[in-house]
Amino acid sequence: MSETSHIGFVVAAYALAGATLIGMIVAVVADYRAQLRALRRLEGAPRGPAPL
């Protein structure tokens, strides 16, 4: 294989690693927002016996 054809492997490696790292960051941030939403919903929800 020529040197030029190797560039594709380098680009693919950086693209794949970048996508994976961004995916990890997005997953953690999305989970944080989901927990905050749930906490706000629960802390704002009424307590005690269910209304009839």
């Binding site: 040197e3 492997f9 794949l16 994976t20 906490l39 629960l42 929800a45 307590r47 209304p51």
Partner: protein, 256 residues
């Protein structure tokens, strides 16, 4: 020094530290990528393909480092019973899986032009694949058991059993004949890699490490919040509140 065993104190510390940590992570990634892509010379044999090293090697180091962190956290759960140890262990597993995935895929993309194949069942590659499967198994175990305490103990035992794989990965290139090259940075007698290639590699490794620390702190914070949500749901259910809908109110209650 805040009491890190106290989740509220831990959350306060995370809130204060994270902005600086993210700034340092962005700075070192920018510097590392600039050095790796524009400053470091091509390898005299491998040419431009050697630039994959600046992702592959830090990801490989992180794959093992994260498992070492999880092993210490497993000891924290089983021996010292630290209140945040199981949260730290659970939070680290998906991050370790991500770094191991990067290590395997970039290694495969490096192997094809250099070795002529994407994969060989040699000791180094196989033991890293075993590490990846271990991470996936731990994530699955957390998801399979609803009770946080039981899941933590089971995951801690599996983590400790799996830790035997870390020295196997490290020394596989010395113990067996492998297609993978032997260690060229962390070895007796010092690095064999040229400084012009070593410095970009070390900067990228620091960037990966900072990213892991930032994400790990955030993921532990998520775990603490998830348990607060679970306690509130349980309390609401006990009080007979109308919204006692169970796990539907807990995002990722099954181990996300």
């Amino acid at each position: 020094m805040p009491n890190l065993a106290n989740p509220t104190a831990f959350l306060g510390l995370v809130g204060r530290v994270l902005p600086y940590l993210w700034a340092a992570t962005a700075l070192f990634f920018a510097l590392g990528l600039w050095l790796a892509l524009f400053v470091a010379p091509p390898d005299y044999q491998q040419g431009e393909t050697a630039r994959i090293m600046y992702l592959h090697v830090p990801a490989a180091w992180m794959a093992m480092f994260v498992y070492a962190v999880m092993t210490i956290a497993a000891l924290g759960t089983l021996v010292w019973r630290h209140p945040l140890a199981d949260a730290a262990q659970k939070a680290a597993a998906p991050l370790g899986a991500g770094f191991t995935f990067i290590c395997l895929t970039t290694g495969s993309l490096w192997g094809k032009p250099m070795w002529g194949t994407y994969w060989v069942w040699d000791a180094r590659l196989t033991s890293v694949l075993v590490l990846f499967i271990l991470y996936l198994g731990l994530i699955a175990l957390w998801r399979a058991i609803d009770d946080f305490g039981r899941a933590a103990r089971a995951a801690a035992i599996l983590t400790l059993v799996g830790s035997v794989n870390i020295p196997i990965i490290k020394f596989s290139v010395d113990w067996w004949n492998t297609l993978h090259q032997p260690a060229s940075v962390f070895r007796l007698g010092g690095p064999t890699i040229a400084p012009s290639l070593l410095w970009p590699l070390l900067v990228m490794a620091l960037a990966f490490t900072l990213l892991f620390i930032a994400l790990h702190l955030m993921a532990i914070r998520n775990e603490i919040l998830r348990r607060r949500v679970a306690r509130l749901v349980a309390a609401a259910a006990n009080e007979g509140a109308a919204f006692a809908a169970g796990p539907d109110l807990i995002p990722g209650a099954r181990g996300a």
